[in-house]
Symmetry: C3
Subunit: 364 residues, 3 copies
């Protein structure tokens, strides 16, 4: 456990781990203090996600930037997956959907935008592998068409329409998972070489040995599950106490909390002029949520949820996901960026966040 | 007639020609057997379309790939044009519109996607003339804006709105035809050189002499007209007997049947690493339907239809056409493809087909 | 004043200045002759805008094409700014919004399209700095997302929704102005070199001395303000007398009148094979209206308007702005153009203009 302790000593983010036992204690002593529990669980999830991330990076250490970025995104989304499964089991489908839409939008706009901005403040212009950016944007676009169709065609709340939406959602979910698997086959196997980054230098963090990495993955996943349970229980009440709409909490807060560790990696990549890593994490994570986590939730709802969940999102969320994907696609098309590229993405994110914050409650 | 017989002997697809007399006989003997007549007319149209296609290719044989592709698309759409005119005369405007939208979506997503996939399974990556792809995508985008405006601005079903829609539809139709003519002037005359493909080798099929080619064009067009009449008569009843929604039949079945011969050419081009031909046929045919066939139908409805037809499509069809064009535009932008490019397009097509198949009847 | 008189002698457009005193006289003598006053004010604004434009060009003379284009657009929009402020003070918010949406659509489609067409008729193909085109298209896209969100999320006309829309409009306005300022910092200071045009030759028009240029700017701005007052007063009545819908007048007529001088510069740049100048004026002016003039109007409405104005546009106008920006973005992406590129843009413009012309009154 030596490398783990060394890591904790050197990384101030991990000092937040103290909030994990504090949270569990508070939950025993004051189970009704929703706002306190909400705040504590936010602070507890961030370092746990960071540990998951480092364990993942250790596994990914021997691959190229783009592939490492994909692996990072795959396991980095473990936090979101566990939170979403917890909310699913509790039947909070609004929260599940809002948080998935929020992660897609946040990664596509905020994580990518802040990476471009942070990198651009240090380097005049930066370049990245646009083949990977196009591939991820293409996957994302596919998924958003799938999420958009049930909303675009929905009718009045009549019984046949609900049955149609459920049937269609299962079909779309299977299709998206197949698309995701084929995408992995393409990027990791048949066309691996076009995704390899020119820059092969790797992060300064010492990778952990494989055994430690896997042990940390397992133990921390359990802790995340326990923490998310308290988070999901308290978030609703805390949101209304803090005067924030539920859409804002699901969309913005959950996405920022769950993605904190990935963001740390993406930003650090950008500051080291390794934008391939940042773009890979940001877009890869967004497309993984859209093509893998969201469909898995639909299928899982038949097993662990109180009722089946469909893929029909709130129309405002669909519009935001669509414009997030379009903006990211336009912006990454040239394979070059400067600080203003980041500002553009962050401003679109700010427009969405402000709208959700101001939205009167019943509109969501 | 020697080359024609030789062609029939060597091309198993043409053996389906036997269904043409069978269909006419069945129609005499059992005019009420809708499902049988529907199936027979499908099998009869496919080889007729293939003959039209070979006759066209014979004419196009002396031009470059891109121009040959355009000619191919122009006369290859003769089948769709004849089917649509037959449905128009019968006043089946829903079928006319659904089949036009369906051809646009099917060519843009299925024909292009399957070409990329089939080519990509044989070649690691393929390149094509992206100037032509951009030009066709631009035309398609223009047409879809024109088709989208009446739907986007439509109001309640009041009399002035209907008059507005009809007036606007005539204006848009004239504009689209002018745009199509200017596009031909651009691609065939003033800027011909940028559309010429680098690869000038041609298909192995022996072109027919001009006289035979023109005779086949004339005779087969008449047969297609007679066959479509039976097809249009029987399709509605057959669809409900087979449990398929009318939107699905118009959108998917008619488009696949009418385009079978073009698809054969596009796929064979892709397998021979001549993607310029495939992209030219697929996008050229889609833009020709949108800019030429659809407006001609609107104008023709004043002459041969029972009442004037407008350009207002079912909103779901407009959404599908818009996303088909956007997807094709994003995907062809780089001028390179691999097998996964085809998978992406096919998956978007599958999403649309599945949605239409599951759609409850009254929603269409 | 010598250079000013010489300019007037040589430029037939400026002979229209005679309409300025004629307009003021007519307004004194026949204040109720709306159609006459409307026509006279149109003819009076055109040469005034041209004078503003030449004064601006004199100031911009020592900078590169792209930066000169931006400066041109900034002060070239003075005419639109003054007209909009006049309409704002009169509480004609429909006219303010229609004219802003109209200027964005007209500059993006008509000014850019006609530049490509006029340039393309003289030169076989033309090239331009696509970095600048992408930058302006990105800004425009950002602004249109901001304008689209309130419309996309609007609810029934209930009181809380109205309060939400007003709050959101102020927030979005501040954000857009900040975005505009950062964009200027980026294009004029930190990344100035990528916007510099390769072609550094300048227009044949002799620049005025700085003193004269500033004096003309000040005096002509006052005249434009007085003229717009009469224009705004008469436009409504004149429109209904001439049988044009108000949407058509605001969208098309005001935009063409206010932009006449800029168009003259853009078209002349295109004919001299300096498309960078044309693209800079057209897209720069559109993005400046969207990111600067529109938000300033919202904030100014709290000071000089009878009631606060929001940023919520008529949905049809939002759709048009969105497709105008998408079309311009697709079309300028390659950095090359030919005459047909211009035809495509003009046809999209024509679709919008025809729709607005035919639109029955109560739909707007």
């Amino acid at each position: 456990m030596n490398p783990l302790l060394r890591e904790i000593r050197h990384n101030p983010l991990l000092w937040l781990l103290i909030f994990v036992p504090v949270l569990f204690a508070a939950h025993q002593l004051r189970p009704e203090a929703h706002t306190l529990l909400f705040a504590l669980s936010v602070f507890a999830i961030v370092p746990l996600a960071a540990l998951l991330s480092h364990a993942t990076e250790s596994v990914a250490a021997k691959t190229g930037d783009a592939v490492g970025g994909l692996l990072n995104a795959t396991l980095g989304n473990l936090t979101e997956l566990v939170i979403a499964l917890t909310a699913l089991r509790a039947g909070q489908y609004m929260l599940v959907k809002a948080s998935m839409a929020g992660v897609i939008v946040t990664n596509t706009l905020f994580m990518l935008g802040a990476s471009f901005l942070l990198g651009g403040l240090k380097f005049h212009t930066q370049e990245f592998n646009r083949v990977n950016a196009r591939f991820q944007a293409g996957l994302l676009f596919l998924a958003i068409i799938a999420l958009l169709i049930p909303s675009a065609l929905r009718q009045a709340d009549s019984a046949p329409a609900a049955a149609f939406t459920l049937q269609l959602s299962v079909g779309l979910s299977v299709l998206l998972i197949v698309g995701y698997a084929l995408g992995l086959l393409f990027s990791l196997k048949t066309h691996r070489e076009v995704f390899a980054s020119a820059d092969s230098g790797h992060g300064e963090e010492t990778p952990w040995p494989m055994g430690l990495a896997l042990a940390v993955l397992a133990a921390v996943t359990v802790l995340v599950a326990l923490t998310s349970e308290i988070f999901v229980e308290s978030v609703q009440q805390a949101a209304s106490d803090l005067g924030m709409s539920q859409a804002f909490v699901g969309f913005i807060i959950v996405a920022l909390v769950g993605g904190a560790a990935e963001m740390a990696s993406a930003f650090s990549g950008a500051r080291k002029n390794r934008l391939d890593l940042s773009v890979g994490i940001a877009l890869g994570s967004a497309s993984q949520i859209a093509l893998f986590v969201a469909p898995v939730m639909v299928l899982a709802s038949y097993v662990i949820g109180p009722t089946p969940m469909d893929l029909q999102f709130w129309p405002g969320a669909v519009v935001m996901m669509l414009f997030a994907a379009l903006t990211a696609s336009l912006v990454t098309n040239s394979g070059r960026s400067a600080w203003f590229t980041g500002v553009l993405l962050l401003m679109v994110y700010w427009i969405f966040a402000m709208t959700l914050y101001l939205l009167p409650p019943r509109a969501q």
